[in-house]
């Protein structure tokens, strides 16, 4: 692979975050380092007792030990798997509904007010019922994550479908595209910028809800791990877990959504 190709690949994989392309340089590192330094100083000076806030350096040591521990990684994997299952479920229900609502006015008028009604409710208010019906386990977590992911996907895709110019449908008709290729080669790419931002929002929402459920219902996962460790006083482990979640969330956000968006940036 040529250097140029490799550069382009890194750029598309990371959305420019690590190559420093999007931010022009690595300036963002300095405030981050400053923050960690202040944190370290605050605890070391005794301003805050280490039982409330462990030093940054001790967290870092625990973090590097944790990411070599299989059970720690499995817990993150567990949460991540629930999250992905929830998003896949949300995507497969929301996409056809949103597409139908965006293209048929009657369907839109029938369905969208109801979706809005449910969307206005705080998702977590359903949690006790879901736990009652499905038990405090993965099923409840997946369903909650899909609920959180449903709304952003539904509304962005619906709007995206409505925004497709009439002329583009005429183009598919003139060139005799069948229904399937009209959907895959015209509608899907046309709504993709909307779809991607919907997915990104859904991903963020789902992370929050997954952690909340794990803390509230003690479903095994990284959220539950944080809760247990903080409660028993080993704050270093709690912080290490938060670091790990942050890294997973950012890397996926940059690698997956960044590359999708760099594709739409080329033409949109």
């Amino acid at each position: 692979m040529s250097v140029e190709k490799q550069k382009a690949l890194t750029l598309s994989l990371t959305g420019g975050f690590f190559t420093g392309d999007r931010f022009g340089n690595y300036l963002w590192i300095f405030p981050l380092l400053l923050g960690f330094a202040v944190w370290e100083a605050v605890t070391r000076s005794g301003l805050v007792p280490s039982s409330r806030l462990p030093t940054f350096s001790s967290v870092l040591v625990v973090f590097f030990a944790s990411i070599q521990s299989e059970s720690f990684l499995l817990r993150i994997g567990h949460s991540f798997l629930n999250l992905i299952c929830g998003l896949v479920l949300a995507f497969s229900v929301a996409l056809p509904l949103a597409f139908a609502a965006g293209s048929r006015n009657k369907f839109d008028l029938t369905l969208t007010p109801i979706v809005m009604l449910f969307g206005a409710l705080p998702d977590l208010s359903f949690l006790p019922l879901l736990v009652l019906w499905f038990g405090a386990g993965n099923a409840a977590a997946v369903i909650m994550a899909s609920l959180a992911g449903f709304f952003p996907i539904y509304f962005t895709v619906r709007q995206g479908t409505k925004n497709i110019p009439r002329e583009l449908f005429d183009v598919t008709t003139i060139f005799k595209a069948d229904r399937f290729s009209t959907f895959t080669k015209m509608v899907l790419p046309a709504i993709s910028p909307h779809l991607f931002s919907g997915l990104r929002l859904a991903y963020d929402f789902a992370w929050e809800i997954i952690i909340a459920i794990e803390i509230a219902t003690r479903v095994a996962g990284i959220g539950n791990f944080i809760d247990g460790n903080v409660a028993s006083g080993s704050l270093q482990n709690g912080f290490a877990a938060i670091f790990a979640i942050a890294i997973v969330a950012i890397v996926v956000d940059r690698a997956f959504f960044g590359s999708l968006e760099s594709w739409t940036k080329k033409w949109a």
């Binding site: 183009v171 003139i174 005799k176 015209m186």
Partner: protein, 289 residues
């Protein structure tokens, strides 16, 4: 000569809240290799007419015939150039031109070769890998024309194809379309509101009336090509058509005005009926409506 495309008493009604009469028994023929321009007052339904020929819309009554057979729906030998270009922004120039062939399941190598040929024809060789957003309006319409030609149609329909482009570019593009028409001998039907453009390109100009659109006049244009817009006959024809269209617009205007007056009249009658309940007005109101 048999007509290549023929419209036989095409009428169109729309039901959008109230019944709208768009086309009224439109009939005319387009010979093979002929270039026909359709002009009419704005909002008269000329784009509707083109959409019906293209198979994007169905006539309420009447028929569109291609080589003598009735057509319903899009026909693979009839292609369309869109007013706002109708390009897919996520496809490169080459992929856009390939689209029609792709839908016909032409193998990739073959359709790329054809697409490159037609891009060359419209002067866009070297732009294959660009995206539409990187091109100017005139260049985008060239892509639109290449895409329409790439499926090797017998009839090319153009819906206000030059109206979204700046005038100088449009002028160049019109010359190129005239040249393509001369070289390929394909049949062209152009809907436009630009009378000079209509006369410059066409073998005959179909003038439509205001809504519901009827054929007001068919004017054969026998001027030599390439055409000179300052030629006396050209100017004369331009004035004639302009006069007809103005007349149509005035008719519409007067109709609307009369309708307004009759509504005012009935309002006045109702008021005076209130003031003087003994005076019968029912009869009068009926006349005005």
């Amino acid at each position: 000569m048999d007509n290549h495309v023929e419209l036989d008493n095409v009428s169109k009604f729309y039901d959008a809240g109230r019944r709208l009469h768009a086309l009224h028994e439109v009939s005319f023929g387009v010979g093979e290799g002929e270039f026909v321009s359709i002009v009419g007052p704005s909002g008269c339904g000329k784009s509707t007419l083109l959409k019906i020929i293209a198979g994007l819309d169905k006539p309420t009554s009447g028929q569109v015939k291609f080589r003598g057979g009735e057509i319903c729906g899009p026909h693979s030998k009839i292609s369309l150039v869109f007013q706002a270009f109708g390009l897919f922004p996520w496809r490169t120039v080459l992929q856009n031109v390939e689209y029609g062939l792709e839908m016909q399941r032409v193998p990739k190598g073959e359709r790329q070769k054809l697409a490159r040929d037609y891009l060359g024809l419209v002067g866009l060789a070297g732009y294959e890998q660009m995206y539409p957003k990187q091109l100017s309006g005139g260049m985008r319409q060239r892509v639109g024309i290449a895409r329409a030609l790439a499926v090797e149609p017998e009839v090319v329909l153009m819906d206000e194809a030059f109206s979204a482009i700046d005038e100088v570019t449009a002028e160049v593009l019109r010359d190129e379309v005239a040249e393509i028409h001369r070289q390929t001998g394909k049949t062209f039907v152009l809907v436009t509101h630009n009378l000079s453009e209509a006369i410059e390109l066409a073998d005959k100009v179909v003038v439509l009336s205001s809504r519901p659109a009827k054929v007001k006049k068919i004017m054969p244009i026998s001027l030599d090509r390439p055409r000179d817009r300052t030629h006396a006959l050209f100017v004369h024809m331009h004035r004639d058509i302009l006069h007809m269209l103005k007349e149509e617009l005035e008719n519409t205007f007067i109709r609307h005005k009369l309708k307004g007056i009759s509504e005012l009249q009935s309002l006045h009658d109702m008021e005076s009926a209130h003031a003087n309940p003994n005076k019968p007005v029912a009869e009068k109101a009926e006349v005005t409506t």
